[in-house]
Assembly symmetry: C2
Homo-oligomer: 368 residues x 2
């Protein structure tokens, strides 16, 4: 299963909106065939592994199939994998996570069991889910999996008062941040960052087969058409402000304006924005924004993970990482869990996750 997970990890950038899945067919400790999900329309992992075994001249009858996600049981762009697995007459099938779509979870496994094939489930479930938290979130709750990328000093300052924020963290942290951008379907920022830094928001420090889509939250639709993030593919501009003239001007820059007014004037309905993106088959959203949008997303409970890069410096009187309402008691603060801590050049990367949101996904991905 570890190897199947590794195979799935290698197709991080190419399967969206489908999940990243790996499959390994084994007999007596020897690999007969292996594969991972091909780009949409192409074969799924199980089919790739079966073809690989055939190409090697190996019979898979009676062999053990390790697959990181329950084989699909429905006709999509490809025929159901569960049928192909049954037809291959495996001796046993080991599955990490179930299909997170509540309508489908268990159907693929049931088909295998109905054919008399022994099935083991839940092996390496958390690792498999981590690879496909976005797919699972979209399928089970109708919104993408969202992580908030932040870089700051040890005392939580992400910019000086004069706006200077570049190079608080070092090149290794920046490259790692780009790797996280690269795996996401959408890179989201706010108007403040556009005005201050005019970022391109592209993936540069790591090689990628495709650039993630860019999106910006711009409550009052004030973004200049000259913004550099409009260079390239279609950009989504989420706003609370209906302005057909401006929208038309932005369309000429290949921007699509989506009007989703929230309760407060000039503020986008952020949960509605997430649901909208999920309907566009967006699994994962990488947020790289200032303290305003970052705090607003946290307050609106739209964040699943924290991806923080901390530099070995104390800045004192400077700008904070997130704008959040003042608390009068510590119990009112929403805690996450640190799930990974790693040195990264001179800096440290801290990953955090909101446990309740993860547990909901774990329940959805638990194979039936």
């Amino acid at each position: 299963m570890r190897h199947a997970l590794e195979l799935a990890g290698r197709v991080l950038h190419t399967t969206a909106p489908n999940p990243r899945v790996g499959c390994v067919i084994v007999r007596d400790g020897r690999i007969l065939g292996e594969g991972a999900t091909q780009p949409p329309g192409g074969p799924h992992a199980e089919i790739c592994a079966l073809r690989d075994a055939a190409a090697r001249g190996e019979s898979v009858v009676g062999a053990t199939f390790y697959v990181t996600l329950e084989p699909c049981s429905h006709f999509g762009r490809t025929p159901p994998c569960a049928d192909a697995v049954v037809a291959a007459s495996p001796g046993r099938v080991v599955v990490a996570m179930g299909d997170p779509n509540p309508q489908v979870n268990g159907a693929g496994l049931a088909r295998l069991r109905a054919a008399g094939i022994p099935v083991a489930t839940g092996v390496c479930l958390p690792e498999a889910l981590a690879l496909n938290a976005g797919f699972a979130a979209r399928m089970s709750r109708g919104s993408p999996w969202v992580w908030l990328k932040m870089a700051a000093s040890l005392d939580g300052r992400s910019a000086l008062h004069n706006g200077m924020s570049q190079w608080i963290t070092g090149p290794q942290a920046r490259a790692d941040g780009h790797a996280w951008r690269a795996r996401a379907d959408v890179v989201l920022t706010g108007m403040g960052t556009v005005l201050k830094d005019d970022p391109r928001l592209t993936v540069r420090d790591v090689p990628v087969p495709r650039q993630p889509r860019k999106a910006v939250v711009d409550g009052r639709l004030q973004i200049p058409e000259s913004a550099r993030l409009f260079d390239g593919e279609e950009v989504w501009v989420f706003t609370a402000h209906e302005d057909p003239v401006k929208a038309e001007r932005l369309a000429r820059r290949n921007a699509r304006v989506i009007v989703l007014p929230g309760a407060e004037p000039g503020r986008v309905d952020l949960p509605a924005m997430m649901r909208w993106m999920a309907r566009q088959h967006i699994n994962e959203v990488h947020v790289e924004a200032g303290a305003g949008l970052s705090g607003a997303l946290l307050s609106a409970d739209c964040v699943d993970e924290i991806l923080a890069y901390v530099a070995p410096v104390l800045l004192g009187d400077a700008l904070g990482m997130v704008k959040l309402p003042m608390l009068t008691h510590l119990d009112a603060a929403r805690r996450f869990e640190f799930i990974d801590v790693a040195p990264l050049g001179p800096d440290v990367r801290l990953r955090g996750r909101f446990a309740d949101r993860w547990q909901t996904l774990m329940a959805a991905a638990n194979p039936r």
Copy 2:
């Protein structure tokens, strides 16, 4: 040498103001004797190891001596260890760090070499120095080794605006903080913390043979005699304000007032305070203070290490970790190095060190 370092680590709380030293005598991979520095007035590590070998009935002639610090060559409260080592006729002596006192560094090694004993030096030097950075700092630069303990949220907030700061981090971080308090010679705080939290500043969460001395920086000598930190042994109160009446009242609470006015009125000369403590044989200072004193010590370049506990929470609008002057350029910020990152229950401990200050000690401790 690893074992000798481990022996030295076991006497962390009992050797001050002497260094923590371990010694292991080995022949053919077998330990003949071992020991670590006894409390002041008692035998040093080499003598303990020799006595241990004698008690085991082992001859150490021709054996290899591993000792974490250069054997002393002068008469102090005990006769010179270098002479005792020479008299034992070792085949070889391996030393980690030299004596950090520039007047003495190399004298012990020279005595061994003059007796025809082969000497190897610098083995595990950084590890040996880390055990005795305080002793080395006092000997080589005339001030203690100072670490700044801080606990904060991921966005660097150590208290709410209403002052609430307890329990941002969890019990494991608190116990670890007490272990660091325990190894220090002095636990230092500021008046703000005394007024806000009225701390006892004692070591409670870990067993210790002795409580470290307590000290407080109180520029205007406003500390109430009722403060709980006066319960116990003599407390040092550093002030910029001459007030014999108040000093007399505090003396009745077993407090010693030290007047060290700085350049600004009402502010203590912090570097002079550190030098004063070194003259009282203080090796290590654990600072546990608010943003004011923490920032002032950083600004006065009185801090060697950062000991930060970071909790998995974002607090937004709350109080910062350190008060530092506003910067206009990031290059002006003094960077440290992360030397250790470790999860601690739900929290993460980040240790940082100012590289230049460490390198100065390394040079002083490099055996000649």
